[in-house]
């Protein structure tokens, strides 16, 4: 069994590619031990859920993820992605149409937003200052934890030696102290607010500040996108941050379109990786991880080919990794709980996607033309979203869904013929399986109709513009991209599955249960979104183990 590689990465998603590039470069600090890395991708091209495809002649769709913001600037710089052709065009507007009156517009510019709120409620406009301050406080705190390996609170004995730390275990204590110091800087009053914030429902949180129902609905949107929770569920306030902590060229909280669709993000990272010497093989589906004597030693491809390496890294989500790629026997030999953790892991498909080719630019009720240049959130007040959630709870799609729409072609001419447009519609909530059973073509058609009707309601005359619709349920997304239940975050972003508990208790530090086995996907800290942080963090732990001779 000859090991032709230092590391094999299962899955060429953006995290897998980021991890590969970091490993091949030997980490930021000193490129001492550069690794020989092979990336195995099941599909004919890399990118996973950050993908551009021509599904209708002349139109490039961002088939899954559709906007760019969370990608950590550190990674952006280290891999020099602009050089590899990634260009992110920031946009400024996030708006909510209103069939009954004037819509709500949110700008990146704080003062413009306050002014636009003033049109609806003086009180809200004034509260917006306080609100923005609190949010940015939370973001500043969270951000510092993104690019660190989450410390394990049960491993605080600095002298406890183990295989990974033969000279005593310090990282966890240090990490916890580091977080503690950050926390200390907040000052006591803000400490209370933050701890409260982490366990609150977004509805309670926003009710403290605002009164205009539609504005509260718009503000709540980012805390339910991709999660199987409603605005009244405790713990949703935190998810709010997950969509506030991004930035585009240094502009905090800004969102942007990747020129050429989200595929160009993956393309750029892949280019950076290849340049660093990473070998990428597509059409190479991994069937099993080969485990011998409690060590991961290689992978077996569907084709029957076996490839061996010093370390195996999975970019797949935790359920797929531990229930499909690894034999139960191998897990139970280590610890029977792992299989239970994996089967209990919450990874719920809750969102679908419609990719639409348009003959022209739609106009939205209660909004000016400018709205089309940013995100359009079609929804309403808390109850609207909560009712959409209720439909989902009992195994149906939302009859009146919440929709997060963007039209990237308004700023990116490369994605559609002149004068025509591509519109990406993110649909919340759509179940992976219906109460009646699996999706049937008829139900899918009905679901598509409900979505289009909802848009028509908020953008009169929309239907006449539609040239082609690619309609996707979580089930479709799982089968195409391989994400279990089509969950965009590789697992719910609830507190019980964050930090050192992501993906499972005791396995939150990118290391799998076996020697030489690692995880680098969104199913690890800090979680989902096209962020790259999990991949980068994982690479640090892997390189650490290599330099310590844990991996031979």
């Amino acid at each position: 069994m000859q090991q032709s590689y230092d590391a094999i990465i299962i899955g060429g998603g953006h995290n897998g590619l980021t991890c590969a590039a970091y490993l091949a470069k030997g980490g930021e600090k000193d490129g001492k031990n550069k690794l020989k890395v092979l990336v195995l991708e099941r599909r004919e091209k890399v990118g996973g859920a950050a993908m551009s495809e021509e599904k209708y002649p002349g139109f490039i769709y961002s088939t899954c993820s559709y906007v760019c913001s969370l990608l950590r600037p550190e990674i952006f710089r280290f891999l020099d992605l602009p050089k590899h052709g990634l260009q992110v065009i920031p946009y400024d507007i996030n708006s909510a149409p209103n069939p009954e009156g004037e819509g709500i517009i949110y700008y990146n510019d704080h003062d413009r937003t306050r002014e636009s709120l003033r049109r609806h409620s003086i009180r809200d406009a004034e509260a917006y200052d306080e609100y923005a301050m609190e949010i940015s406080r939370h973001c500043r705190f969270i951000k510092r934890t993104l690019l660190m390996t989450p410390p394990d609170p049960t491993q605080l004995n600095p002298f406890a030696q183990n295989r990974i730390n033969p000279w005593g275990h310090r990282e966890d204590l240090d990490g916890l102290l580091r977080i503690g110091r950050e926390f200390g800087r907040l000052g006591e009053r803000h400490m209370y607010d933050m701890i409260r914030f982490w366990s609150m429902s977004v509805a309670d949180f926003l009710d403290q500040y605002f009164e205009t129902p539609r504005w509260k609905g718009l503000a709540a949107a980012s805390s339910i996108i991709g999660t199987a929770l409603g605005p009244y569920s405790p713990g949703t306030a935190y998810v709010l941050l997950h969509h506030y902590m991004g930035e585009v060229d240094g502009q905090i909280g800004a969102w942007g379109f990747a020129r050429g669709g989200m595929g160009s993000v993956s393309k750029a990272i892949a280019a950076a990786a290849t340049e660093a010497g990473v070998e990428i093989r597509t059409n190479a589906e991994v069937e099993k991880v080969i485990v011998r004597g409690g060590k991961a030693v290689g992978v077996a491809l569907k084709s029957g080919e076996e490839i061996y390496a010093k370390s195996i890294v999975s970019n797949a989500d935790p359920k797929r990794t531990y229930l499909k790629l690894i034999d139960k026997g191998d897990l139970d030999a280590i610890d029977p709980d792992i299989h239970r953790y994996a089967s209990n892991y919450k990874i719920r498909g809750s969102s679908g996607k419609l990719n639409i080719a348009l003959d022209g630019l739609p106009e939205f009720a209660g909004l000016g033309k400018e709205a089309a240049y940013g995100t359009i959130d079609i929804g309403g007040d808390f109850d609207y979203i909560e009712r959409a959630f209720d439909d989902y709870k009992y195994g149906g799609w939302s009859k009146r869904p919440f929709l997060d729409c963007v039209i990237p072609t308004t700023v990116d001419p490369t994605m559609s013929p002149p004068g025509k447009h591509f519109m990406s519609v993110f649909v919340q909530y759509v179940p992976y399986q219906l109460a009646e059973g699996p999706w049937t073509p008829e139900m899918k058609a009905q679901y598509e109709k409900d979505v289009l009707d909802t848009i028509e309601l908020h953008a009169p005359g929309f239907r006449k513009l539609v040239l082609h619709v690619q309609c996707r349920t979580p089930w479709d997304i799982e089968n195409e991209v391989g994400m279990t239940e089509g969950n965009i975050f590789h697992g719910e972003l609830t507190l019980d599955q964050l930090l050192f508990n992501r993906p499972f208790p005791g396995m939150g530090q990118y290391r799998g249960p076996f020697d030489n086995f690692y995880m680098c996907g969104s199913g690890t800290h800090p979680g989902g979104g096209v962020m790259g942080a999990p991949g980068a963090n994982a690479s640090h732990e892997i390189l650490k183990d290599f330099s310590r001779g844990v991996v031979q």
């Binding site: 209370y192 405790p234 209720d390 050192f500």
Partner: protein
């Protein structure tokens, strides 16, 4: 030393169980304490009252599962007529079609073999975690800024942390995982049968305006388990309920006797209008009659909103604190229903225990969905006791009383009048009961329905929330009632909070009153003033 009648060292507003506990401890320490109660009898929400001629029942709280042994011992409640060993009752879940099961492996086996096998281990694990958390019940909550705590606080926190660590790595990690989870997922993790999951979910949502799928409901489950831990480790999880002979009134009666024995004065029908504040400090209270009772320290057993917004008054508080208190979630969702029965259907003939009607998690979830939008549940989830079976003195010979908690009947109603809500929850409770206990309906001779609005009006609890604020992660420990007020001291010097709105919260545990007394005495000693009197 003699002082005028309306002069005391300390005033306790409200003779609920926590107020009485505080009063007793303060009096034991030698303070001259006056307890002022608006109602004609003491006890607050833990009273025994006659709702129909000859039929008596526990007012709001109808089960005892938290009264802390330390308090019972300190105040020698046994001598004052409380028999804590009496009537330990078990829980039984009734399913449609007259089926049902008790909360013990043998009986669960009739529903599901594998659940019966899983149950003991799961309950033991949950109880272990709950007990580790319960270690903080008789402590003043820490401050997140640990450096600012005194050495005792640090010591307690250290002890607590060590207790958690002693759970072992696996349990501690599991605790961090489940603490914020929703009880429905927890039930799915551990059990297969809907009946058992339904029961577990009910225990997780009781007393909350949340459903089984709402995160933070597992915490409520652990919270309730922890209070049962107080009945001794043998409380085998959810079997640790007590049904006091003579109703909950006997508990508060015993507390009142203990307080009076210690020297406290209790005045009933003395409603406090507001707290008298002179020179930015408490000076006493003014009764609704206009009478003044003066004391350097005033302890409120009322809920935080009533205490801050009515008794103290916003003008004496900073806006931040006021808005925090205003936004405390106090949406009572449980109605209390009392039935006078001229007999029992066979299915309930010897139902001495606690009966839960929550056949499926989704039944509870749907019941909650109604409440979410301000409507009364179509099929409420129920907790039923028939105390007259164990204690005939509560009803005329051969007759019975049933005491029912029905969820959900929200205090925040949308386009439903309170009267309509009262009628609806009554009818729907009876029809739901009829499904599991056929023949009950025509046995009903009289019925009393207390909606959260009625509970608010009759027992003075804002929102009819009987925990004085929901027990959710964002409203416990140092966030209860609000940050920087978690040490039982209100922002006005000399004003304290001793009710369930303070840590550790609801249930008839007396822990809040116990902790408040400790802090008050700490201040008193610091002020030296009372040392002479003591």
């Amino acid at each position: 030393m003699t002082a005028p009648m309306n002069q005391a060292d300390g005033i306790v507003i409200g003779a609920g169980h926590n107020g009485l506990v505080t009063a007793a401890y303060l009096a034991k320490a030698g303070l001259k304490v006056t307890v002022l109660e608006a109602a004609p009898q003491v006890g607050g929400a833990a009273v025994t009252r006659e709702f129909a001629p000859g039929y008596k029942v526990s007012g709001v709280a109808h089960l005892l599962h938290g009264l802390h042994p330390t308090i019972a011992r300190d105040l020698d409640l046994a001598r004052h007529g409380l028999d804590l060993k009496a009537q330990r009752i078990a829980t039984r879940s009734l399913l449609p079609g007259g089926r049902g099961f008790n909360l013990d492996p043998a009986s669960i086996a009739t529903i599901s073999r594998s659940d019966a096998d899983a149950y003991p281990a799961v309950m033991a694990r949950l109880t272990r975690m709950a007990d580790a958390l319960a270690a903080y019940a008789l402590q003043t909550p820490p401050r997140p800024d640990v450096m600012k705590m005194d050495w005792q606080g640090k010591l307690n926190l250290g002890r607590f942390a060590w207790g958690l660590r002693r759970l072992g790595r696996k349990d501690l990690l599991e605790l961090t995982r489940i603490l914020t989870m929703n009880v429905n997922d927890l039930a799915n993790d551990y059990f297969e049968s809907e009946a058992v999951r339904g029961l577990l979910c009910f225990e997780g949502v009781l007393g909350l305006a949340l459903g089984p799928r709402s995160p933070s409901t597992v915490f409520n489950l652990l919270y309730r388990l922890s209070s049962m831990g107080a009945n001794g480790p043998s409380s085998n999880g959810l079997g640790g309920f007590l049904l006091p002979k003579g109703g909950m009134g006997t508990v508060t009666q015993a507390l009142a006797k203990a307080a009076q024995a210690a020297g406290a004065t209790i005045r009933t029908e003395a409603a406090v209008d507001h707290i008298l504040i002179e020179a930015d400090a408490a000076a006493g209270v003014v009764l609704s009659t206009g009478e003044e009772v003066r004391a350097p320290r005033v302890v409120s057993n009322a809920d935080p909103q009533r205490t801050a917004l009515q008794l103290i008054g916003p003008r004496n508080l900073d806006t931040m604190f006021v808005s925090r208190i205003r936004h405390m979630r106090m949406n009572g969702c449980a109605a209390k229903i009392h039935l006078a029965l001229d007999g029992l259907p066979d299915s309930l003939a010897n139902a001495r225990g606690r009966i839960v009607v929550a056949p499926k998690p989704d039944d509870i979830e749907r019941a909650y969905d109604c409440a979410k939008y301000g409507r009364v549940s179509d099929r409420p989830a129920l907790e039923v006791t028939i105390p007259s079976l164990g204690d005939p003195s509560l009803a005329p010979a051969g007759k019975h009383v049933a005491s029912i908690v029905a969820q959900y009947c929200p205090h925040k109603l949308h386009d439903t009048s309170v009267d309509a809500a009262r009628r609806q929850i009554g009818e729907r409770t009876l029809s739901t009961l009829e499904e599991v206990a056929p023949g009950l309906q025509q046995r009903v001779t009289a019925m009393e329905v207390l909606t959260p609005h009625d509970i608010e009006a009759q027992f003075g609890m804002t929102g009819g929330q009987w925990h004085h604020g929901e027990i959710t992660l964002d409203q416990v420990l140092f966030l209860r009632p609000a940050g920087q007020a978690q040490d039982y001291r209100m922002p006005v010097p000399g004003v304290y909070l001793c009710g369930a709105g303070a840590h550790p919260g609801g249930n008839v545990s007396g822990a809040a009153g116990y902790n408040a007394a400790r802090e008050i005495l700490k201040d008193a000693r610091a002020q030296k003033r009372v040392v002479g009197a003591a």
